[in-house]
């Protein structure tokens, strides 16, 4: 290797946090690269916000080190760290107008009035809030406040931008718009984004990489495709997207492929870890990877249609296997008014190649 490893934007080493007897974070170690859109994803209480607050400096670490572009920062107070935060409730200063809010960080950094004005104008241009410069936050909508918060945090040109569930207070339509906007903003500015969310769709649609967290520990780090297609464990498979999780037992193992027994049926699944025959685990099959057909084909499983739920673009079908297990499948409604799925009908389920995954834990 002749290339030097690039310095990580944020390097976490064995970071831990205890609140009294409660362990919020345990032995968190990973790097976040420069220019990366990195997401901390997990259910509430998983420690993702605590980790973000530790990078920002609002919480002290109880173990481990945090480096920002090579500099140790965990002993610095928040105002000495070149990172900025977009808060969940925005925390816009109610007594300042939009321009004053955006310019606050620059003023505290001691920028000249002319420089502040220029940068604030640039930021206002960036988030398209020209006509609101003199408004107070209370006179603006949630989406507009969100943009002000974003502009305020980006104005001082932070090395890393921290975003604490910034979209959770917006309604669905706005949230989807903001996703695309955040993503392109990150691309244009090249600033490293660390984005905290509990919304897996948000994480999948924006991130370069995702760290899936649960109970204070990192479960898996990978690209959106990685964590969706190759979940490391049962939690990740279940948390990211929809999946059928079935208790299963490994049969014959052939490299990455395992013959799984579940509820009287058997199916070939992929695995990443070392699996021994007879090992208990979980079989994960995404509903959209199941195809419903009428004829028996290679690798298909006979089943009977149970309940169907019409969902607009898709129809969700519960298919009961002969062995007793139930699998949920999703069919795209490509033909209007097509009604091929009647309850009780006998069908054959085909699992797409590589779609079944055997998870040890």
């Amino acid at each position: 290797m002749t290339n030097q490893t690039p310095i990580a934007a944020v390097a976490l080493r064995s970071v831990g946090k205890d609140f009294g007897d409660f362990t919020a974070l345990k032995d968190v170690t990973f790097d976040i690269g420069d220019n990366e859109f990195f997401t901390l994803l997990g259910p509430s209480g998983c420690g993702k916000t605590t980790l973000l607050r530790m990078i920002a400096g609002f919480e002290a670490t109880t173990a481990g080190t945090i480096h920002l572009f090579g500099d140790e920062i965990e002993t610095l107070p928040p105002d000495k760290r070149p990172v900025n935060t977009v808060f969940q409730n925005y925390a816009l200063f109610p007594h300042m107008n939009v321009a004053e809010n955006i310019g606050f960080g620059l003023k505290m950094l001691g920028w000249s009035k002319a420089d502040i004005d220029a940068r604030v104008a640039e930021m206002i241009q960036m988030v398209q809030l020209g006509q609101f410069v003199h408004r107070k936050p209370s006179q603006m909508s949630g989406g507009q406040q969100q943009r002000v918060a974003l502009a305020r945090a980006m104005a001082p040109k932070p090395k890393v931008l921290l975003l604490d569930e910034p979209l959770s207070a917006l309604d669905l339509k706005l949230r989807q718009e903001m996703r695309a906007e955040l993503k392109s903003l990150q691309r244009e500015t090249g600033i490293t984004f660390i984005f905290v969310t509990h919304d897996q769709e948000e994480a999948l649609s924006m991130s370069d990489r995702i760290a899936v967290m649960s109970a204070g520990e990192v479960q898996q780090i990978g690209t959106p495709e990685d964590v969706y297609e190759h979940p490391a464990n049962r939690f990740v498979a279940d948390f990211i997207g929809e999946t059928n999780l079935l208790e299963a037992e490994a049969g014959t193992v052939d490299g990455q492929s395992v013959m799984c027994q579940f509820g009287g049926s058997s199916i070939s699944a992929t695995t990443t870890g070392a699996v021994a025959p007879g090992q208990k685990g979980w079989l994960s099959i995404r509903p959209e990877r199941l195809t419903i057909g009428t004829a028996l084909g290679e690798g298909s499983i006979p089943a009977r249609i149970g309940q169907t739920v019409y969902l607009g673009t898709d129809t969700q079908v519960m298919a009961h296997l002969e062995g007793g297990a139930t699998l949920g499948a999703r069919m795209q409604n490509t033909l209007a008014g097509a009604d091929r799925l009647t309850e009780g009908a006998d069908i054959h389920l085909t699992v797409a190649p590589g779609a079944a995954r055997f998870l040890v834990e």
Partner: protein, 270 residues
């Protein structure tokens, strides 16, 4: 489900009227007789402003003016000092987390409200004479600062409790030192509470009698002690005029304190 409505109870109206009458009738009598065109304090003999004129230009006007000046300057300084201490205390109590001795600290801060004033008065007097502190203007001021703290503390801490800590975090995140976060962000958002606390402390200091009377020493009078001194020589209608003026001023300040304390609540998100 039926909600509890005290107005439905028998006698609610009568009892309310009786309470209001007992509380406010004496004040009304004083206010009415301050306009009495007579030396009598029991017989009303026509409307006149002569006693008000007497307060400002009569024989004892000089004494009252000095007392009023003392009261006013002490109240301003005591309220200012108490408000500063109370603001620091409120930040410590509300933002300091659950530190050891927090309940004890709260008890200490609110002690002057709980303890009978006469006890504080005697204790303060004994303390001053024990350390050889000479009684006069300064001793009154010191005593007033102390008992004004809890009155300033209550509205300030109430306001601070309604302000989310993320405002200060956001300020610090944007490179404000702790002092700048207070100066540019927390203090302006807290301002209505601080102002309300200041006015409450001001009015409490202005009309304090018991403690002032104990620690004032000879020769220094505040308005309440001057009025008491004058009353001891017989109640003259000019006292009523003076009391009415003091009453109006108090109502004004308390109303102001209440109104200011309420402002900005709507602007504060959540």
């Amino acid at each position: 489900m039926r909600t509890f409505d005290p107005r439905r109870y028998t006698g609610f109206f009568t009892i309310t009227l009786a309470c209001l009458f007992i509380l406010y009738a004496p004040l009304a009598v004083v206010a009415v007789y301050s306009f009495n065109d007579s030396l009598s304090i029991t017989r009303f003999e026509g409307v006149s402003l002569r006693w008000y004129q007497d307060v400002f230009f009569g024989l004892e006007a000089g004494k009252f003016r000095t007392a009023a000046w003392n009261s006013f300057t002490i109240a301003i300084m005591a309220a200012t000092a108490a408000t500063m201490i109370a603001t620091a205390a409120a930040i410590g109590m509300v933002r300091g987390g659950n530190f050891k001795g927090k309940p004890a600290s709260f008890a200490l801060i609110s002690m002057p409200i709980m303890v009978p004033e006469i006890v504080t008065a005697v204790a303060t007097l004994i303390f001053f004479s024990a350390i050889g502190f000479s009684l006069g203007y300064v001793s009154i001021l010191v005593a007033h600062i102390v008992f004004c703290i809890p009155f300033a503390y209550l509205p300030i801490s109430a306001r601070l409790q309604g302000i989310e800590a993320t405002f200060e975090e956001a300020a610090q995140d944007l490179y404000a030192s702790r002092w700048n976060a207070f100066r540019y962000v927390l203090a302006p958002i807290m301002a209505p509470g601080i102002m309300s606390g200041f006015l409450l402390a001001f009015i409490i200091s202005l009309d304090d009698f018991i403690i002032t009377n104990f620690v004032k020493g000879a020769g220094v009078e505040t308005l309440p002690t001057a009025i008491f001194g004058a009353v001891k020589q017989g109640i003259k209608p000019d006292i009523m005029a003076l009391s009415t003026l003091l009453l109006l001023f108090s109502i004004l300040i308390v109303t102001l304190s209440y109104l200011i304390g309420r402002t900005g609540d709507a602007k504060n998100p959540e």
